[in-house]
């Protein structure tokens, strides 16, 4: 009792043996000592700040990794048009006045584009078998396209084979986009709608369709997928590949025979493949594709070189556009293949060079226009390089204009102009590649390392937090100070060498420089005392589950099947918990355990629950999990799987009767949810409190449920509304959701304002208590008297209340209910969760309300099951075991899936953006993003906010255990004899008995939860970076990483909010006690 303070006053009085005797410990009582309360407040703040700092470490890791992994590019919607040349200056000679000419006169009126998926360069390379000294190699894919070889040999001026250099990511969708827009598609092209499968940018096809339609065909595109499939299935070294390539050869041969003179044939591979037949990454084999041009008329001035030329793949786009007499697509950054513009072999060298220069100049003008527009729209490109390029362009352009005016000296200057133009185009492309299309391995590794470091901190600090010597303030202030110093130094350094400040790097530098001193400090504090082996505290079974869960992220099949794998894991985990309880002997009556082998005593603590109880909980949990699994959405492209029909909104149902039944079920789920929460609050007695939040729970929550039900009725039956009511209905469907959200927000505000939901009768009871007090000590004058008074008030109130209850013969947990202090924290958290759940429920389809009900039931059962395994420690250090935190995180993931979500972009519930805004949002983007995000990450948020319940619940369950044990004796007389011992359980007030331990436990809980989430995001990041060449990287791993990352951010914010709420309640309870004291003092 050495360190008692005002916050403890509430509970300490019950330790007084009798009222006459003044406890000696109370001499040192420092009730209103500012210092100690300030101490605790500091500790609370530092717990929150410490968690926020760890979150910051995670965030910087995530952003650093993302900036290296997910390259973004802004999609511009501008279009090139015929009437609008890309730059000033006259159109090139010969283009004016010709029909069908746009920026340039067309050379071909038609083009046949044969796109062979995954046609690697060496598949098409002609085989020169007569290399002396080398043994002839015979691989299945070599030399199978013999028609190309034949054409190249017979008609060297008509055809040309190129090795086209593909930009990663080498996946088909991205390649097709590149081959039509001439740009570098990245994984996320930040456009108006990134889930769309249509290209919104300017592209060749659009230019073709907008060109004058002559009634005949202009372009024929054939996309052959056979080679790609064969590669995925068998790999390139399989005889099947030879067969497939020979088929392709026949196709090309047939086409060549039927070509007319004004038609150009293009055979192109969109990407290559690795030796296993995969693609998607950036290895040499994947990025080298074949490109073959053929025209029945002579196209090239010279014979083909021995080794085919290497050109970027996007060069095809401007070349084709100009050859067909079309404008180059607006966003193209490819460079035209100059040699095809030189005319036939008999033309003058000067005029052919001039034609090349004009094509290049047009191209350069277009690229310059694009760069100008792009850099105006975003600051993605490096300003310094952009400036250099612009200078280069203006010089080349001036030279070109000068050359056009003075055709006499052209021979000398023409090559330099061409070289300048080409230099500009290549520079522009290189700059774009640098900012759009290259994985930055350094950043990815740095991000992963930061994430790992943050996980390590979580693990270490969670072990350390509950030990008594945990230095809160120095451990926090030192890293923050160092982080700030590091960031400033970095910023100043950058400023002195005039580089652009990269916020991502700045954050990373700050994180690292705050991490290192923490590590040093921790090492100094930790290493001296304990061996490192205790650093790995996760018990074996939990570790096994965690490892399985992490391994899941490395397999695309498992990521796709995670919706089924997570309930399976959760079920296993639950059964494991039950079995473990049994194994530890906590479920068996001790009689059975006396038999075991010699030498060891059976168990020290008697079982608190019988086996059937835990088994019931476990089976109930399994049942809930299975039922929630009925609401699953299939990932894409799984033919066997059928999505649940219950995920669709009721409005899409046809049958009136079924719809009504479902509507009834949904409303019943709402009512059940409401009733369950109210019942729980009544069970612990908090419902009787006259505080505003409780009034809100009693009246506001039903109102919210009513609003939700009415909204569902309106939305699901909107088609059947008579016309004259239509305006009313549409008005109501705007107002109702907003009203529900407003109610929830006001409820939360009330909760934050007055979070102590206890029944205080102090005002009314004051005069009577005084009369009770006076016989003992008279009006309180000194501090000691005051300490003495409070217990009496408590006692008096309790007796009075008990007497009243006995009179009214009401039932229920009388002793606990008297003051409701035992559940004051969890009541606040549960109320907050309910208030949060209603608006989130509104964003989902109606029938998901059943899942929400299951969610609450499930977490209730899980909490009880976990609490059965946690012994109630009377006075610190409190701790939440790892299995509790793991099961909680696992359940959050399971609920994410059972609310009809999948970690892929097409599965996002976009309709959530229109709840309350049926007409859309106009230009506002953050609000729909918020609504859709709240829909998607609802389960993450709810479980994170509810995380403190893991710490609180065992204390709540204490009341049950005690009452059960009291029932058998149940002797009134005995209870009267020993009123002090038989007192009601302290429940959560045990936590307040040791506030230091309480805050440490909260910190530990937060760190553990962050660790579990953090290793998940770390595993996702590692999977995405290790498997960045995997076929499914952009389809499975990258979306999974993004969803995990956003989920982590939402969860961490929710966690901070939940812990802050508990601390707010704690503060309010303190001030409540203080007020009680002050009121007594007067």
């Amino acid at each position: 009792m050495a360190s008692c303070s005002v916050v403890q006053a509430g509970m300490q009085w019950r330790h007084l043996g009798s009222l006459q005797h003044l406890h000696p410990g109370f001499k040192q009582f420092s009730c209103l000592s500012l210092l100690s309360s300030w101490d605790y407040r500091m500790q609370k703040a530092s717990v929150l700040l410490f968690l926020a700092w760890v979150c910051f470490l995670f965030y910087t890791g995530i952003t650093l990794f993302t900036s290296g992994f997910l390259l973004t590019r802004l999609e511009l919607t501008n279009h090139s048009s015929c009437q609008e040349p890309p730059g000033p200056g006259s159109l090139p000679p010969g283009s004016q006045g010709k029909p069908g000419a746009c920026w340039m006169a067309s050379r071909f009126s038609r083009v046949v584009l044969v796109l062979i998926d995954a046609l690697r360069f060496d598949f098409a390379q002609p085989q020169h078998s007569h290399v002396p000294g080398e043994p002839p190699v015979s691989l299945p894919f070599l030399g199978k396209l013999s028609s190309l070889k034949k054409i190249l040999e017979i008609q060297p001026h008509h055809a040309r084979l190129y090795r086209s250099q593909v930009d990663p990511p080498t996946t088909t969708m991205q390649r097709l986009k590149a081959l039509t827009t001439g740009s570098l598609p990245t994984f996320i092209d930040a456009g108006s709608n990134f889930a769309s499968h249509a290209i919104v940018e300017d592209n060749l096809i659009k230019q073709l369709t907008s060109a004058v339609d002559s009634g005949e065909w202009d372009v024929l595109i054939a996309h052959f997928l056979g080679v790609d499939h064969c590669g995925h299935k068998h790999g390139p070294h399989h005889p099947e590949m030879a067969k497939k390539l020979s088929q392709m050869d026949q196709v090309i041969q047939g086409l060549v025979e039927h070509l007319e003179n004004d038609t150009l044939l293009v055979v192109a591979g969109d990407h290559g493949m690795t030796t296993n037949g995969d693609h998607g990454g950036d290895s040499e084999l994947e990025v080298s594709a074949a490109l073959f041009l053929y025209s029945p008329t002579a196209l090239f001035p010279s014979t083909p070189p021995e080794e085919p030329e290497v050109i970027p793949q996007v060069s095809l786009v401007p070349t084709l556009a100009l050859l067909l007499g079309l404008p180059i697509p607006f966003g193209n950054i490819g460079e035209v293949m100059a040699e095809v513009f030189s005319g036939s072999e008999d033309s003058q060298p000067l005029s052919s060079a001039l034609a090349q220069a004009s094509a290049l100049h047009l191209n350069a003008q277009q690229v310059s226009r694009f760069l100008h527009t792009y850099s105006a729209a975003t600051e993605n490109l490096q300003a310094k390089k952009l400036h250099q390029l612009q200078k280069l362009f203006s010089k080349a352009s001036a030279d070109y204009q000068w050359l056009l005016q003075r055709p006499r000296g052209a021979e000398a200057t023409l090559p330099t102009v061409i070289a300048e133009l080409q230099q500009f185009l290549r520079g522009a492309r290189a700059m774009c590649i640098e900012s759009w299309a290259r994985f930055s391995l350094v950043r990815m590794a740095g991000g992963a390392a930061l994430l790992a470091a943050a996980c390590f901190i979580c693990l270490m600090a969670s072990q350390w937090a509950i030990s008594p010597g945990f230095p809160f303030c120095p451990l926090l202030l030192l890293p923050v100070a160092w982080g700030l110093v590091g960031a400033t130094v970095y910023a100043v350094l950058l400023g002195t060498i005039e580089l652009k400040l990269d916020l991502v790097l700045l954050g990373a530098v700050a994180a690292v420089s705050s991490f290192l001193p923490f590590l040093w400090k921790a090492w100094a504090g930790w290493g001296s005392r304990r061996p490192l082996a205790t650093l790995f505290p996760i018990p074996g079974p939990v570790l096994l589950f965690l490892l399985i869960r992490l391994a899941v992220f490395f397999s695309d099949s498992f990521v796709v099947a995670e919706a089924r794998a997570t309930p399976f894991l959760l079920g296993s985990f639950i059964l494991l918990l039950v079995v473990q309880l049994h194994w530890e002997g906590q479920l068996l009556p001790p009689k059975l355990l006396t038999m075991p082998r010699l030498g060891t005593s059976a168990t020290t603590n008697s079982p608190r629950h019988n086996g059937a109880y835990a088994l019931r909980l476990g089976v109930g949990l399994l049942l809930c999990t299975r039922l929630a699994g009925l609401f699953h959405r299939c990932p894409e492209e799984t033919p066997v799987c059928h999505s649940s029909p219950w995920l669709s909104p009721l409005a899409s149902m046809v049958g009136g009767r079924a719809k009504n039944l479902w509507y009834g079920a949904c409303v019943a789920a709402l009512v059940a949810l409401l009733a369950a929460v109210r019942l729980w609050l009544r069970r612990y007695g908090n419902l009787k409190s006259p505080e505003p939040p409780m009034l809100f729970v009693r009246w506001g929550l039903p109102l919210m449920a009513l609003g939700t039900a009415a909204y569902w009725a309106l939305v699901s039956g909107a088609d059947e509304v008579p016309p004259r009511l239509r305006a009313l209905v549409s008005g109501a469907s705007v107002v109702l959701p907003r009203a529900v959200v407003g109610l929830a927000a006001s409820g939360l505000a009330l909760l934050l304002w007055k979070p102590v939901m206890v029944l205080v009768k102090a005002g009314a009871g004051a005069p009577r208590t005084r009369t009770v007090l006076t016989p003992f000590s008279g009006p309180p004058t000194s501090q000691a008297d005051l300490d003495y008074v409070v217990p009496q008030i408590y006692r008096h109130m309790q007796e009075e209340f008990r007497g009243r209850l006995e009179r009214t013969k009401s039932q229920g947990p009388l002793t606990v209910g008297a003051y409701r202090l035992g559940s004051v924290y969890s009541a606040a958290v549960v109320t907050a969760l309910t208030l949060l759940a209603f608006p989130l429920l509104l964003l989902h389809a109606e029938r998901i309300s059943l899942v929400f009900l299951l969610l609450f039931v499930q977490s209730f059962l899980l909490l009880h099951l976990l609490a059965a395994g946690i012994p109630v420690t009377t006075s610190g250090p409190f701790t939440v075991p790892w299995q509790a935190v793991s099961a909680w995180a696992l359940m959050a993931t399971q609920t994410f899936y059972s609310t009809g979500h999948q970690p892929v972009f097409p599965a996002i519930h976009w309709h959530a953006a229109f709840v309350g805004f049926p007409e859309g949002h106009g230009s506002c983007t953050w609000l729909p993003a918020l609504l859709v995000g709240a829909n998607t990450f609802a389960s993450h948020l709810l479980f994170a906010v509810g995380c403190p319940l893991l710490l609180l619940w065992p204390f709540l369950c204490e009341s049950q255990g005690l009452r059960k044990r009291q029932q058998p004796p149940g002797n009134e007389a005995e209870a009267r004899v020993r009123p002090e011992e038989e007192d009601e359980p302290l429940m959560e007030m045990r936590l307040r008995d040791a506030p230091h331990h309480f805050y440490a436990a909260l910190l530990q809980l937060g760190l553990k939860y962050l660790f579990i989430l953090g290793v998940q995001i770390l595993a996702c990041a590692l999977a995405a970076s290790i498997l960045r060449r995997h076929l499914m990287v952009w389809k499975v791993f990258a979306p999974k990483f993004i969803f995990e990352a956003v989920g982590f951010i939402v969860s961490s914010v929710g966690l901070l909010l939940g812990i802050a709420l508990v601390m707010r309640v704690d503060g309010a309870v303190s001030s409540w006690f203080r007020q009680l004291l002050l009121a007594q003092q007067r």
């Binding site: 089924r564 079920g571 194994w583 068996l588 355990l593 038999m595 075991p596 082998r597 010699l598 399994l622």
Partner: protein, 219 residues
């Protein structure tokens, strides 16, 4: 004394393994087109029958806990009937647990039930043979420090490894290898079988290895 017991245990376990091997080969002599994967249900039935028969015979021959006080006929009959009911109960409860774990409710019900039967054969039948229809004894054996003889110890190990095998068998189902055994419940039954066999092999070795530490109360 100990070593002879362990030897007996080992021989009995080898016999059990032999019965499983027989259940693979004997049907292929009688039936045409028999293979474990193609005619999986037939194999399940034969395997279950063989293992049950061997367990019963061994129980009658070896009698590891011959401490039954009453041995009247009626007592034996009620005991046998009780065992049958326990077996059926365990089959049904396993079936329910599989469904709760995500097995389809209606389709493939027969397959699921046969999986429950074979898992019961690997776990419940030895328990019934050794401990009799006595739930409290079961609960005692499957808790820490609850075993009282090497028979119970080996029972504990084989049962746990059967469950673990069945559980691990479910893991490869989602993978896209497109193998014929990656189908519910074939991978699980195979996993349970391998787990049972592994338990049979491991338990004598483990007991032999730890024979110094293992001290049972009634020995």
């Amino acid at each position: 004394m100990k070593d002879t017991d362990i030897k007996r245990l080992l021989y009995i376990h080898l016999l059990c393994i032999f019965s499983i091997i027989l259940s693979v080969f004997i049907p292929s002599l009688c039936l045409e087109n028999f293979s474990i994967l193609e005619t999986h249900l037939t194999w399940l039935c034969t395997c279950s029958g063989f293992v049950t028969a061997v367990n019963l015979v061994l129980y009658l021959v070896v009698k590891p806990n011959a401490s039954s006080k009453r041995s009247s006929l009626s007592h034996k009959v009620t005991r046998f009937l009780k065992c049958c009911i326990y077996f059926l109960m365990s089959c049904f409860s396993f079936h329910i647990i599989f469904v709760l774990y995500g097995a389809p409710l209606i389709e493939l019900a027969l397959e699921t039930f046969l999986f429950a039967v074979i898992l019961s054969t690997f776990t419940t039948v030895p328990c019934l043979c050794l401990l009799g229809p006595n739930l409290k004894a079961w609960l005692r054996v499957f808790s820490r420090n609850g075993v009282t003889s090497i028979w119970e110890n080996s029972l504990q190990i084989t049962t746990i490894s059967s469950f673990a095998g069945a559980w691990l068998g479910a893991l490869p189902i989602p993978l896209d290898w497109e193998r014929p055994w990656q189908v519910w419940p074939i991978s699980c039954t195979l996993g349970a079988t391998f787990g049972y066999v592994a338990g049979l092999v491991i338990s004598p070795l483990w007991i032999y290895w730890n024979r110094k530490q293992l001290t049972y109360k009634n020995n």
